[in-house]
Symmetry: C2
Subunit: 274 residues, 2 copies
């Protein structure tokens, strides 16, 4: 391969880092790929690190030692995060989103890849110290959020089916009580979908009473998986006493008044402990 | 904002382009953002374009005129694509993937964000001239692939429910015959999920007889949506006579012999017409 100029290396290294978050790249790897001295590559990486740092979009973590290198951790500064979540809250607080039965129409938001990619980055940053093996969700609406969180961690997604239609060999099923829909549901996961002692983070789009979330936690126990954390995009103020504790909600639905056509959602203070 | 060095601009412009594929950025926008002359920005963009071109990973399209600018189109060179799909075919041709009933275990592959991101790029490149408004899929297994295709196009995803559990106001349901499972199913989509005359591309993970695919096409007709194309990750050699025509399959399942524990999948020649 020919020699590359620094400006070209900047483009290509940035692309590799962004497309492979959390993956450790050694100086030697880049030095060989670009036929450059390790000292030049080291300087390249400093420039990338500073550019991310100064604009508050992404962290570069340096791992020292013989097996050392750098890895890119998706991140947005608190100011960027707050502006994004406030905007999302504003867009969701639109009375035209109220659906019969007191539901809120959110699919245009939670199926928008650019938006869910940003939410995935927020979750991945909040849970960065946990080092999960998988992101777990239950079908259907939470899947895009969960996939983008998994992408930001560069780990695989596990999707629990919300019935027993699993066609992947033996499966474990549990019943759960959904407080929102006031009914008993069944959720199932194929045995081979999760190895024993897996470390997981659960991601979903919405939490009211927490019945579905509790179902997922119970199912994880059946797999001897360790639930390191749970994140939801929107939770409701009422009931305050949820069936699960210690979860991270990004937005809070304070009020959904179908009769008076009013919906109030605000972003939460993310400095609180997860 | 202070002046940025070229090497820093390279990092930040590359990040913006990669995170916003298909979005048009004007020279003036970057010039103002970085407080740089348009001629410097123009040179920056040429360097990025060449770096992508020389390594066969991504296209930069230049749009001329007063409202002109550049946009990034995800792309991999045919060689990179072929190597990736061959590797995928090899990994899927593992007899341990055979499930009771003649199914193939693929979820570890199709729920892996890094893999589905690459597949999304392949679909987006193949359908780049079509300019869709939305990517459409049916729950559940095709969702990650469809979301990543939508991400590569920077457009939103529409997920058809495969029953009538839609809680989003009035919905349109149709029955379809699934040749693989030999049963009649119902798929539904909320009225407000798709505007009239929408231009869509359908993405799914697997096609056997094409009954589910035909169901999606029929449902799109109910919404007066125009189906511009259809892409599936794996289709089966048998039956050769599918219920739908003109779709793009990336991998072909030639044989799945449960008794003799043999499965054969190969990548298809992507030069064929879509």
């Amino acid at each position: 391969m020919e020699k590359w100029r620094r400006s070209e290396r900047m483009v290509l290294i940035t692309k590799m880092l962004l497309e492979n978050p959390h993956q450790l790249f050694t100086l030697g790897y880049f030095a060989e790929l670009f036929q450059s001295a390790k000292s030049s590559i080291s300087e390249d990486l400093s420039i990338i690190k500073n550019a991310f740092l100064e604009t508050g979009q992404g962290n570069m973590e340096t791992v020292s030692g013989a097996a050392g290198g750098v890895r890119y951790l998706p991140y947005n500064s608190p100011a960027v995060e707050k502006e994004f979540l406030d905007d999302l809250a504003r867009r969701l607080s639109d009375p035209r989103r109220i659906l019969p039965g007191g539901y809120l129409y959110m699919t245009d938001i939670i199926y928008n890849p650019a938006i869910v990619a940003k939410i995935g980055t927020i979750f991945a940053h909040r849970f960065v110290g946990k080092e999960p093996d998988h992101i777990v969700t239950v079908e259907t609406k939470g899947i895009p959020l969960a996939l983008m969180t998994a992408k930001a961690f560069n780990i695989s997604l596990v999707i629990i089916r919300d019935d027993s239609r699993v066609t992947e060999g033996s499966a474990v099923s549990i019943n759960y009580f959904s407080g929102s829909s006031k009914k008993i549901g069944t959720m199932s996961l194929a045995r081979r979908a999760l190895e024993p002692d897996a470390r997981v983070i659960i991601i979903d789009d919405f939490m009211k009473a927490g019945g579905t979330a509790k179902g997922m936690i119970d199912l994880m126990k059946e797999f001897k998986a360790e639930v390191l954390g749970m994140g939801v995009l929107v939770d409701t103020k009422e009931p305050e006493d949820k069936l699960v504790e210690n979860y991270l909600g990004l937005l809070e639905l304070k009020e959904l008044d179908e009769k008076n056509e009013k919906v109030t959602i605000h972003s939460k203070n993310l400095t609180e402990d997860v």
